[in-house]
């Protein structure tokens, strides 16, 4: 047993760190570190810059333009990006639709879409959830009917993250209403500029516009935009969900946020000492830090088995549960740390329209919204309860 990285991995980390130091724009980095809201250009410009080196698609095989890194190197990349405060690369194109296209797409689909995902030409969104179909995704009702050389799609998708910026949507639709619910689903690629598509914002409890409803009314989709075979979409959808990586635990981000939390607590008073030196509060931070130390090793265990050729199976569900619990606990303690100062809400500051927050504490200003925003993490990507079902079946054999 050896918990240390190899000298080659350490050298790789040093190279990555130096490149990020030199290339991540300061203003963008500051936005991330200050918990401000990122806009379309923030994501797009960073994606484009990474794309010039193939680093927007670190998990892709070399033949499609990926850097050919192994699981450990990808893990180091994720850690270093999180540590410095780089925006994440959005998963919808890079790590959701792309693996499906690589495995099941036609040559023409691969040739057209993959390079555009790599360099950021197309912004993708996910058309999975519907108002009546969340955890029970296979019950989805959006219909696609074949007419001549195209499908006609009617229905509604929801929780479409950043769909307001999307050029393309990968979409699960029902193509056979008579079959068993999993067997009548197809996987379509839909151009968001097609007539009949309406995107409406859903404003979340932190008053942010991150997710949307997408209405589809007689939307014509060319037959060549079907991925794989008709009525086999559920297989592809499951493949996509199974493609979750160990990065799901986001330990790197959590480590960065822990340091922020400590800095926050060190600047607050509790009696004659700082909040960080207070027995009760420091004990809470210590418990959370220890949970993260354990989670980091748990992630490394999964990464090591992945590097030995064993894919991350149901263990990824464990990482999702623990990772999101840690993330949520961090945001909770941040709000606790600043106490009454958390109440002041200043969207103009969060959007970068004002340099300093009106209530005067720039560190504290985003935290309540951040806390409310993070409630989503235990719900999205398969709620934590669904993850527990998966573990119960796949690991415990119940």
């Amino acid at each position: 047993m050896d918990l240390n990285y190899s000298p080659a991995d350490d050298a790789f980390r040093a190279d990555i760190r130096a490149w990020l130091d030199a290339n991540l724009p300061q203003a963008l980095r500051a936005k991330v570190l200050d918990h401000k809201r990122l806009n379309r250009d923030d994501y797009a410009s960073w994606h484009k810059l990474l794309g010039t080196r193939g680093w927007s698609v670190v998990a892709w095989p070399k033949e499609y333009g990926g850097p050919g890194w192994d699981a450990t190197q990808r893990h180091i990349w994720d850690e270093e990006c999180a540590r410095i405060g780089a925006p994440g690369v959005l998963p919808f194109g890079v790590s959701m639709v792309a693996p499906v296209l690589m495995k099941y797409g036609s040559d023409a689909q691969k040739a057209h879409y993959l390079p555009r995902i790599l360099d950021g030409t197309d912004w993708w969104c996910q058309g999975y959830s519907e108002p009546g179909s969340g955890s029970d995704l296979a019950s989805l009702r959006t219909r696609a009917e074949r007419q001549d050389d195209h499908y006609v799609v009617n229905g509604q998708k929801t929780w479409t993250t950043l769909g307001q910026f999307a050029d393309m949507m990968f979409c699960l639709v029902r193509t056979d209403t008579g079959a068993k619910k999993q067997e009548g689903i197809s996987f379509l690629l839909i151009d968001m500029k097609t007539p009949g598509i309406t995107v409406r914002p859903i404003i979340t409890l932190d008053e942010d516009h991150e997710v949307n409803e997408v209405f589809l009314e007689d939307v014509k989709v060319p037959l060549e935009n079907l991925v794989g075979e008709e009525n086999r979409g559920w297989t592809y959808a499951k493949y996509l969900l199974g493609h979750e990586r160990t990065g799901i635990a986001r330990v790197g981000q959590s480590k960065r946020e822990l340091v922020f939390l400590k800095r926050l607590a060190a600047n607050q008073k509790k009696g004659s000492v700082s909040l960080l030196a207070d027995a009760v509060f420091s004990s809470k931070i210590a418990a959370l830090e220890i949970e993260m130390m354990a989670l980091e090793v748990t992630v490394q265990r999964v990464v090591a088995s992945e590097a030995n050729g064993r894919g991350p199976g149901p263990e990824a569900s464990m990482l999702k549960i623990k990772g999101t619990e840690v993330q949520q606990a961090l945001t909770e303690l941040m709000v606790e740390a600043v106490g009454p100062q958390a109440a002041a809400f200043d969207p103009a500051y969060l959007e970068g329209e004002r340099e300093h927050s009106l209530a005067g504490d720039d560190d504290a200003a985003p935290l309540a919204a951040y806390y409310f925003n993070f409630r989503k993490t235990s719900i999205y990507g398969g709620s934590n309860e669904i993850q527990k079902n998966i573990i119960a079946q796949m690991i415990l054999g119940l």
Binding site: M1, I285, A287, E289, A294, T298, I391, L396
Partner: protein, 373 residues
């Protein structure tokens, strides 16, 4: 990074597990617990033959120079089988002597490695709780040696040990002493602990003792010995957690109510998933403790050991209580192994620092307040 155990470690584990599965069944264990001696010499002989006592000792003293990862393998198996033989106490004593490393210690080490003698470290005094340095026992020079006066309680397997390693104050400073079981002026009161182990109260009244180690090293060495002992308990607990989770899953698959195995109920499934996650997190942090115990930086060692004991303690409480809950009425009987794993976990938690103690120690270390990335 490599989380695999070596071929040698796996062979060691397999041999030990085979022995325990055949010779140390739950029924056999219960008979030993109920016996007057509370331990069984035949198993001690077998452990010695398997190389368990030689494992942690240095090669120069006839040992195998085994490190924390090797001991992790052993302790997990002992936890799984609920072993009540005096192995932990002796292994901790061996580490104490190894850290001291002088001629006297080395002579004892050789005998401990071969299994000829057993050892126990007297960490605890009445009302000191988890404060290792709350030592009221005193030492005074007398002739060529020293005499000790004071009381040590809950010395695990103290009555089975041939030599005790005893912290005492010498001119105000903590120093380590070794006392022979047959020394004059010592009173030994032995009792059972509720988890089936044995412990003793040692009362010294000007008891002859030999000094271990150099001046001004007693407190630092004592703390390091306690960290080693704590790490071994964490490793044992991981073995218990695995066994208890396995037993609970199997029980719920067999137990039927409302015409179906209770394992079909989602409330119970999710509980067992939470138990599994606790066990995996406990395993991960114990691996980290194994890697950091030998660190040159004492604070790095303290940090990892306290992290492990705190996290294992949380897992122990949750998994232990829920395993009993999911075993239903059977869980609160003394008949099922689950109850005994639960008791062992609970007592591990109150040994050498509980969750709160180790969270506070973790938060008191210099690195905790670092706010640089």
């Amino acid at each position: 990074m490599d989380f695999n155990f070596t071929d040698e470690q796996q062979q060691f584990r397999d041999a030990l597990r085979r022995y325990l599965d055949n010779e140390y069944t739950f029924d056999a264990r219960q008979k030993i617990v109920a016996s007057k001696e509370g331990v069984d010499a035949k198993h001690w002989t077998a452990f010695t033959e398997l190389g368990l006592t030689a494992l942690p000792a240095p090669e120069a003293q006839g040992g195998f120079d085994g490190g924390p990862a090797d001991m992790l393998v052993v302790m997990q198996e002992l936890g799984r089988a609920l072993v009540v033989e005096p192995y932990w106490a002796t292994a901790v004593g061996i580490e104490a002597l190894r850290l001291v490393g002088d001629d006297h210690a080395n002579a004892l080490l050789e005998r401990a490695a071969s299994g000829e003698i057993k050892l126990a470290v007297a960490f605890h005094e009445p009302h000191a709780r988890y404060d290792l340095f709350s030592v009221g026992t005193t030492a005074q020079e007398k002739g060529d040696g020293f005499v000790l006066s004071g009381q040590k309680s809950l010395v695990l397997h103290g009555a089975q040990a041939d030599y005790w390693i005893v912290p005492a104050r010498l001119a105000g400073e903590i120093a380590l002493f070794v006392v022979a079981r047959g020394a004059a002026n010592v009173e030994v009161t032995e009792y059972r602990t509720i988890d089936g182990q044995r412990a003793a109260t040692l009362t010294f009244k000007a008891t002859p003792a030999d000094r271990l180690g150099k001046a001004n090293t007693g407190a630092a060495t004592l703390e390091r010995i306690a960290d080693y002992a704590t790490f071994l308990l964490c490793a044992e607990a991981v073995g218990v957690l695995d066994a208890l989770n396995h037993a609970t899953v199997e029980y719920t698959k067999e137990r039927k109510q409302f015409g179906t195995p209770i394992a079909r109920f989602q409330a119970l499934q999710h509980r067992m998933v939470e138990m599994l996650i606790h066990a995996e997190q406990a395993r991960s942090i114990t691996y980290l403790a194994a890697a950091r115990y030998t660190s040159e930086d004492a604070d790095e060692r303290r940090r990892a050991i306290s992290a492990a004991k705190a996290r294992v303690g949380q897992a122990a409480r949750f998994v232990g209580q829920q395993a009993v809950q999911l075993h239903g009425g059977m869980g609160v009987t003394n008949e099922v192994a689950a109850a005994h794993w639960f008791k062992r976990l609970s007592i591990i938690e109150t040994t050498l620092g509980d969750v709160d103690h180790h969270l506070a120690r973790f938060a008191s270390l210099p690195g905790f307040a670092d706010t640089d990335v």
